[in-house]
C-alpha cells in the first residue's frame, strides 16, 4: 500500500505539468478561502470599531456569512447594460482578477515553499500589480455609463501616479538587498526584528503601504468607487458573479500587498524573536510559514483599520500627495539607502 502511494507520488513529481498544477491549486484554493473570510473579518472589525456587532446571523458568530454572500452573488442575474460592449464588459472582471492571482507565483511562503523562485521576482510583482488597472478601465468604458467611466478615469490616473512611488520604494529594498529574488530579499533581512528593512527604510515602508492602498483603490483612496459621488464607480453596472469577480480581485490584491509588505519590509517568514536571549531559543525563535502568515494578517488588518479611521481624500489632493509628497521623499530616501550601503551602516545582502 505504502509502496503504491510512494510510486504514485514519484510519478506525479516526474510529470512537471501536473505537479505545477497541483502547486498552483495549493496556493489558489486557500487564497480564495482567505478572500471569503477577509470580507467577514472586515465587516466584524469595522463593526467593532463603530461599536456595532457585525454579521452574526448565518452560522455560529456569523462565520458562514461569506458563503451566503457568495451564493447570493452567484445565483443573481448578470445584467448587460444597453449599448455596452458585450465582450469587453464580460472580459474586464477576468482581466482584473488574473494579475491578482498570477503575482502569487513568486511569493515565497518560506525558505523552500515557492512556486517559481525567479531572479526578477520583484520586477514581476511590480509588473503584475500595475496590470490590474486594465480591468477597471475596460469595465468603466465597456459599461457605457457616465459614472463607471468617471470611476475608470480616476482609477487610471491614480494608479499610474502611485505606481511610481511604489516602484521607488521597491528600489530602496533592492539597493539594500542587492537582489530582486523575493526569497533572497527575505534571507538578506536575517538577524532579528531590527535587521528587517522597516527600520532603515522606514519612510519607504510607510510610502509602500500608502501606495498599496491607492493601487488597490481602498479607503481613503477609493475615489474610483466613491459611492457618495459616483454611485459605485467602475462597477456600477455589474451584478451577480461578474461583480463577485471584481470583489474577489480587490480582496486578493489587498492580501497580496499585505504579503509583499511582510516580505519586503518585515522579514517574511523570519521570526521576530531571532537573537533574543531567552525567547529566541524556544519554539518562538524558529523561522516558519506561521510568522509570514501572521505578519500578512497584521497588514491585512491595517487595511481595514484605515478604512474605519480616515475619511475619503479629495481627488486633487490624492494627486498632490502622490506627485509632490511621496515621490520626492522616495527619491531622497533611495539615495540615502545607497549611502547607507556605501558607508556600511546596513550591510548589503546580509
Amino acid at each position: 500500500m505504502l509502496d503504491m502511494v510512494n510510486s504514485v507520488y514519484t510519478w506525479i513529481q516526474s510529470q512537471y505539468l501536473i505537479w505545477t498544477l497541483i502547486k498552483i491549486l495549493v496556493i489558489t484554493i486557500p487564497l480564495i478561502t482567505a478572500v471569503a473570510f477577509y470580507t467577514y473579518f472586515e465587516r466584524k472589525v469595522i463593526g467593532a470599531m463603530q461599536i456595532r456587532v457585525g454579521p452574526n446571523r448565518v452560522g455560529p458568530l456569523g462565520l458562514i456569512q461569506p458563503f451566503a454572500d457568495v451564493f447570493k452573488l452567484l445565483l443573481k442575474e448578470i445584467i448587460l447594460p444597453a449599448n455596452s460592449n458585450r465582450f469587453l464588459f464580460l472580459v474586464a472582471p477576468i482581466i482584473s482578477l488574473a494579475p491578482a492571482f498570477a503575482a502569487w507565483a513568486v511569493v515565497p511562503f518560506n525558505d523552500f515553499l515557492v512556486l517559481a523562485d525567479v531572479d526578477a521576482g520583484l520586477l514581476y510583482v511590480l509588473a503584475l500589480t500595475s496590470l490590474g488597472v486594465y480591468g477597471i478601465i475596460i469595465a468603466g468604458w465597456a459599461s457605457n455609463s457616465k459614472y463607471a467611466f468617471l470611476g475608470a478615469m480616476r482609477a487610471a490616473a491614480q494608479t499610474v501616479s502611485y505606481e511610481i512611488a511604489m516602484g521607488f520604494a521597491l528600489v530602496g529594498v533592492l539597493i539594500l538587498a542587492g537582489t530582486m529574488n523575493l526569497r533572497e530579499i527575505v534571507l538578506a533581512q536575517q538577524g532579528g526584528i531590527f535587521d528587517w528593512y522597516w527600520l532603515p527604510l522606514a519612510p519607504l515602508f510607510v510610502i509602500y503601504m500608502i501606495s498599496g492602498l491607492a493601487e488597490t483603490n481602498r479607503a481613503p483612496f477609493d475615489v474610483a468607487e466613491g459611492e457618495s459621488e459616483i454611485v459605485a464607480g467602475f462597477h456600477v453596472e455589474y451584478s451577480g458573479s461578474a461583480f463577485a469577480v471584481f470583489f474577489l480581485a480587490e480582496y486578493a490584491n489587498m492580501i497580496l500587498i499585505s504579503g509583499l509588505t511582510a516580505i519586503l519590509f518585515a522579514g517574511g517568514w523570519l521570526s521576530p524573536f531571532e537573537g533574543v536571549p531567552v525567547l529566541g531559543e524556544t519554539l518562538l525563535g524558529e523561522h516558519s510559514i506561521i510568522w509570514f502568515l501572521a505578519k500578512t494578517v497584521v497588514f491585512m488588518f491595517m487595511f481595514l483599520w484605515y478604512r474605519a479611521t480616515f475619511p475619503r481624500y479629495r481627488y486633487d489632493q490624492i494627486m498632490r500627495l502622490g506627485w509632490k509628497v511621496l515621490i520626492p521623499i522616495t527619491l531622497v530616501w533611495v539615495m540615502l539607502a545607497a549611502l547607507m550601503v556605501v558607508l556600511g551602516i546596513v550591510v548589503k545582502g546580509s
Binding site: L88, V118, D119, A120, L123, Y124, L126, A127, S130, L131, V133, Y134, I137, I138, W141, F149, A152, M153, A156, A157, T159, V160, E163, G167, M180, D316, Q317, R320
Partner: protein, 204 residues
C-alpha cells in the same frame, strides 16, 4: 527544445496578428488593446531569449503606464472616423510604395549573405541557471556604457522640461487652490460661536 519553438511560434503568431489588428480595426479602443497584446507577446519572446529584465520592463513601462495613458486619452477623445478615412484612396499609392520599400529592406536583411543573414548567427547556447540578465545589464550600463547612459538620461530630462515649458501657459483669471493654506485653516476662521440668551417668541 521543441516546446520552446512551439511557444515562440505561438507568441509570434499572436504578435503578428495583434500588430495587423492595431492598424486595421475600426474601433480605436480595440486598436490600443491590440497594441497591449502585441507588447505582451513581444515580452514573451524576449523571455524566451533569457532577457527577463527587458521583458518585464516592457510590461511595467509600456503596458503598465504608457498604454494606460494612451487608453485614457483615446477614451476621452470623441473620434469621428469618417474624416480620418477621407484621404485613403488618394494616399494609397504612396503608402503602398513605403510599405513595399520597408518589406524589401527587411527581406534583404534576412537573406543577405553579408553581415546580417540568418545563417550568420548560430543558435545561441542557453545560459547556465545562475545567469542573471538583470545583473549583466546593470554591470554593462554602469561600467562600460556609463557615459552614454548618463547622456541618455540628461536628454530625457531635457525632453521632460521642454514638454512642460512648451505646454505650460499661464493664462490670467485662473482660479487655483493653495493646499498649504487649506491645510492651515483653523476653526475660528470659518465658524463663530455666539453666546446668547434664549429668546421668547414675540407676542405672547
Amino acid at each position: 527544445m521543441i516546446v520552446q519553438e512551439l511557444i515562440f511560434y505561438a507568441f509570434s503568431l499572436v504578435m503578428v496578428f495583434a500588430a495587423i489588428a492595431v492598424v486595421t480595426v475600426r474601433n480605436p479602443i480595440y486598436a490600443v488593446l491590440f497594441l497591449v497584446l502585441a507588447f505582451f507577446s513581444a515580452a514573451g519572446i524576449w523571455m524566451l531569449l533569457e532577457a527577463e529584465f527587458l521583458a518585464i520592463i516592457l510590461v511595467v513601462v509600456y503596458v503598465g503606464a504608457v498604454m494606460v495613458l494612451f487608453l485614457f486619452v483615446v477614451m476621452m477623445l470623441d473620434i469621428n472616423l469618417v474624416p480620418l478615412k477621407e484621404g485613403f484612396t488618394r494616399y494609397l499609392p504612396v503608402a503602398v510604395l513605403v510599405a513595399v520599400a520597408m518589406a524589401v529592406e527587411l527581406l534583404m536583411v534576412l537573406w543577405s549573405r553579408g553581415r546580417f543573414g540568418a545563417s550568420m548567427f548560430p543558435v545561441p547556447a542557453p545560459n547556465s541557471s545562475d545567469y542573471s540578465n538583470t545583473r549583466e545589464l546593470g554591470e554593462l550600463l554602469y561600467t562600460n556604457y556609463l557615459l552614454p547612459f548618463e547622456v541618455a538620461g540628461v536628454i530625457l530630462l531635457v525632453a521632460i522640461i521642454a514638454a512642460v515649458a512648451l505646454t505650460l501657459r499661464t493664462r490670467p483669471g485662473i482660479k487655483t487652490q493653495d493646499p498649504a493654506a487649506q491645510v492651515r485653516t483653523r476653526r475660528d476662521e470659518s465658524v463663530r460661536l455666539v453666546k446668547m440668551k434664549s429668546e421668547k417668541p414675540r407676542g405672547t
